[in-house]
């Protein structure tokens, strides 16, 4: 060695620094936005959740009081309940429907592109517009649903009544999201190893058996992913609820984010509550994300 270890150390540090710097030049712009507009707000939510006051003007620290008072807050539990019921009502039909559609769609030859186009189109409808469109379906006087009922001589139904509004909201979500997951599953099914199906065919397995013993187990990671992600999306419902039902009747369709928005800008000095509710939502979403990451990681071996 012709250079001393010290010289090497210095030269190595220089080279390393240069390379790190280059990497940061690439990562930097995105990273700055990520930190400023995502990390800081997430941390900020924790801070805001300990405050009492309005979003402008002064606030005071009240520690964990907001959380302690949360269960007692009229409407807060309803909002959480509504959101969970909404998720429960919408997610199973979305995923089961999507799976059913994808099973048919994946193995179809002629017209596949056209079907995919139509199945996917509702996915691209902004929530606000979807809400508007569903006003035309649910209207008592001229809505599509009641007009169909009338054609069959059935009494019109008040679709946006307090017992059904949340269900209608969930149905809207099914309409809007089933195509997304259907196309998603189509890709997954096409990617499944063909040999297994051929072998199963030789073994004389029926379509139902092939689905039950091959497709489902092979797709379990993908299904799991779909369940988690659609749950996370379901927890965020807001714009359709605002346009279609404005959170009502009563509090029938007041969801978590609806409530947060009400508390931030609709009422006085409740920004701490808004942050506390947000934090509950963020915690739920992070828990779901982490669970998924862990489960998918640990199962990687046996796939």
């Amino acid at each position: 060695m012709r250079l001393s270890p010290g010289q090497h150390r210095q030269l190595r540090r220089q080279a390393r620094l240069k390379r790190e710097l280059t990497a940061w030049l690439f990562l930097g712009p995105m990273f700055v936005f990520f930190v400023v507009f995502l990390v800081v707000p997430v941390v900020g939510t924790v801070w805001w959740s300990t405050q009492a006051g309005g979003i402008v003007g002064g606030t005071t620290n009240v520690g964990l009081q907001n959380f302690q008072r949360l269960p007692d807050l009229v409407g807060a539990t309803t909002a959480i309940q509504n959101t969970l019921i909404f998720a429960l009502l919408s997610i199973p039909p979305i995923l089961i429907g999507a799976l059913a559609i994808s099973l048919v769609l994946a193995r179809i030859g002629r017209g596949a592109a056209a079907y995919r186009f139509f199945v996917y189109f509702p996915v691209l409808v902004p929530g606000v517009v979807a809400g508007l469109i569903w006003l035309f379906l649910t209207n008592v006087d001229f809505g599509l649903f009641d007009n169909v009922l009338r054609a069959f001589g059935v009494q019109p139904v008040t679709w946006l009544g307090s017992d059904t509004a949340l269900g209608v909201l969930a149905a809207l979500d099914v309409w809007r999201n089933v195509g997304y997951w259907a196309i998603f599953f189509v890709a997954a099914i096409i990617g499944l190893p063909e040999e297994l199906y051929q072998a199963a065919n030789l073994d004389g397995a029926s379509t139902a058996k092939r689905f039950w013993y091959l497709t489902l187990p092979l797709m379990r990671r993908i299904l799991f992913f779909a369940i988690v992600v659609s749950t996370i999306w379901g927890l965020q419902v807001f714009d359709t609820a605002l346009v279609l039902t404005n959170g009502g009747p009563g509090t029938a369709t007041t969801t978590i984010i609806f409530r947060v928005w009400q508390y931030v800008f609709g009422t006085n000095d409740k920004v701490g509550f808004a942050a506390a509710i947000s934090l509950v939502l963020i915690a739920a979403i992070l828990t779901l994300t982490l669970t998924q990451m862990r489960l998918l990681r640990s199962r990687r071996g046996d796939d």
């Binding site: 009229v74 008592v140 307090s162 009563g250 006085n268 409740k270």
Partner: protein, 472 residues
């Protein structure tokens, strides 16, 4: 233009050219004749160019802003050249042509001050408080049309300009006297933030009198709750007509509140120190309203929205519906039956009709406060108010509106009903959280209408909401 109008215009023009009246008065008078603002602008321009050598108005003070001198003596209006800029409005959507009405008023203003331009943005009733609050802090607009329900809140904060000195200035006293509800505005605190434009009834009953008659009643069926109930029950034809539509207003705004007051309750006791909701009589009236749904007299919540109700009423699907007066502009021009506007029947303690005001206020972030003040004065003057209230289905706040054209366009039922409403008028209680409490409370009560809570539970929850929001 008919002969008489032509003559009057000529007289006014001569007077103006002879410097017997200011440009401002000239324009106001021309508008009062019923001449379209665009035409007024043309006339004024023609007169001005015909007499270029004649200064049309006295010179304005050179310094802008509220100089100490301003409060000492009468302040002349600024000259046409002095006022320029862009004024941004954030206003409530009362009728479907809301912006057009404001543009009409703006044209009048431009006839005097041609260098001022305007932008109008409508907020949505659903999101009004969010939009106003963010706009205020962002300085996005200069002039706001707000409702009285949020006034106590604004009064307790600093987002809007304090107009007390301008409004109480002696030079304004003559005008001030024509604003009918200044006392109500003054009652909310030491500051005065704006000038009223309308007196508005939330939840009047739109009544199909043909059906009332067919049920064997006349308009006095609202004189007592039992006859009211009897009448609406009789008017209900299953599968065809509901007797009484309630919960149609956005969030049921103030519908229950007037029943609360009629039952002797209120959100807070008069000293604003403790809740005053959970009274037996309040539970009773709440139960009465919920029973309308249980009996199938009222269409289930969600059947008719605020937007859909007028058409359904006109089509005979509801004999009565309860909505705010702006709904008069949404009703079809010709309805195949006679209808009336009536107040709610009396409650156990009193008969109450909830009213509020619309008020023009100025963003404290606005740079040119003087310009904004001139605009607010113009927007709330007699002819502007007459025009606007007439087209938005509300009652003007100005006493001189009636002589300046009010009532030519609006439904005749409005004027007829005013004395009834005034007789039972009650406003909101003076605490900053009133509108928050109101929004949350009505939603809670609707849960009771939907059969999800008993009246007692709902009322207890409302009391809880009052405590939470007010912090007691």
């Amino acid at each position: 233009m008919d002969k008489q109008m032509e003559r009057q215009t000529e007289e006014l023009a001569n007077a103006y050219l002879a410097r017997q009246m200011s440009r401002r008065t000239f324009v106001t008078r021309l508008l009062a004749l019923g001449i379209a603002p665009a035409a007024v602008g043309a006339i004024v321009a023609a007169c001005s160019s015909a007499a270029t050598t004649v200064p049309s108005v006295p010179p304005a003070p050179s310094s802008g802003g509220s100089s100490p001198a301003a409060s000492l003596g009468p302040q002349p209006s600024p000259s046409a050249a002095d006022l320029k800029g862009n004024v941004r409005f954030l206003i409530g959507p009362w009728s479907s042509d809301e912006v057009a009405h404001h543009q009409h008023i703006a044209q009048g203003f431009n006839a005097i001050y041609p260098n001022v331009t305007f932008d109008f943005r409508l907020y949505q009733w659903d999101t009004a408080s969010q939009e106003i609050n963010t706009s205020l802090t962002e300085g996005a607009h200069d002039i706001y049309m707000t409702t009285e329900s949020s006034y106590p809140d604004y009064e307790s904060k600093t987002g809007f300009s304090d107009l007390t000195s301008k409004i109480t200035d002696p030079s304004f006293a003559g005008e001030l006297a024509k604003y009918q509800y200044m006392d109500r505005i003054k009652s909310y605190g030491p500051k005065i933030l704006g000038l009223p434009i309308s007196f508005h009834v939330e939840d009047a009953m739109f009544v199909n009198m043909d059906m009332v008659q067919a049920a064997g009643f006349d308009e006095h069926f609202i004189d007592s709750y039992p006859t009211f109930l009897d009448c609406v029950t009789k008017m209900t034809k299953k599968g065809q007509t509901y007797g009484m539509g309630i919960g149609i207003q956005l969030g049921g705004y103030a519908e229950w509140y007037q029943r609360l007051r009629a039952a002797g309750g209120s959100y807070l006791t008069p000293d604003l120190k403790s809740p005053n909701v959970n009274l037996p009589a309040v539970v009773e009236v709440t139960d009465q309203m919920a029973s309308l749904f249980k009996l199938g007299i009222a269409p289930p919540l969600g059947t008719y929205t605020y937007d859909a109700a007028p058409a359904a009423f006109a089509a005979g699907k509801m004999a009565i519906y309860s909505s705010d007066l702006a709904s008069t502009t949404a009703l079809p021009a010709s309805v195949p039956f006679t209808w009336k506007l009536l107040p709610y029947p009396p409650g156990p303690v009193s008969q109450v009709n909830f009213n509020d005001l619309s008020i023009y206020m100025i963003n404290s972030k606005t740079a040119d406060q003087d310009l904004a003040w001139e605009v607010v004065k113009w927007w709330t003057n007699g002819s502007s108010d007459a025009y606007w209230a007439d087209n938005s289905g509300t009652y003007p706040a100005r006493s001189d509106a009636a002589t300046l054209g009010y009532g030519t366009n609006s439904a005749p039922q409005l004027a007829e009903a005013l004395p009834l409403f005034q007789a039972h008028a009650v406003g909101l209680e003076n605490f900053p959280q009133w509108s928050d409490v109101e929004n949350l409370a009505e939603a809670e009560i609707q849960n009771c209408y939907a059969g999800k809570e008993t009246a007692a539970q709902a009322v207890a929850n409302v009391e809880k909401i009052v405590k939470q929001e007010v912090g007691i």
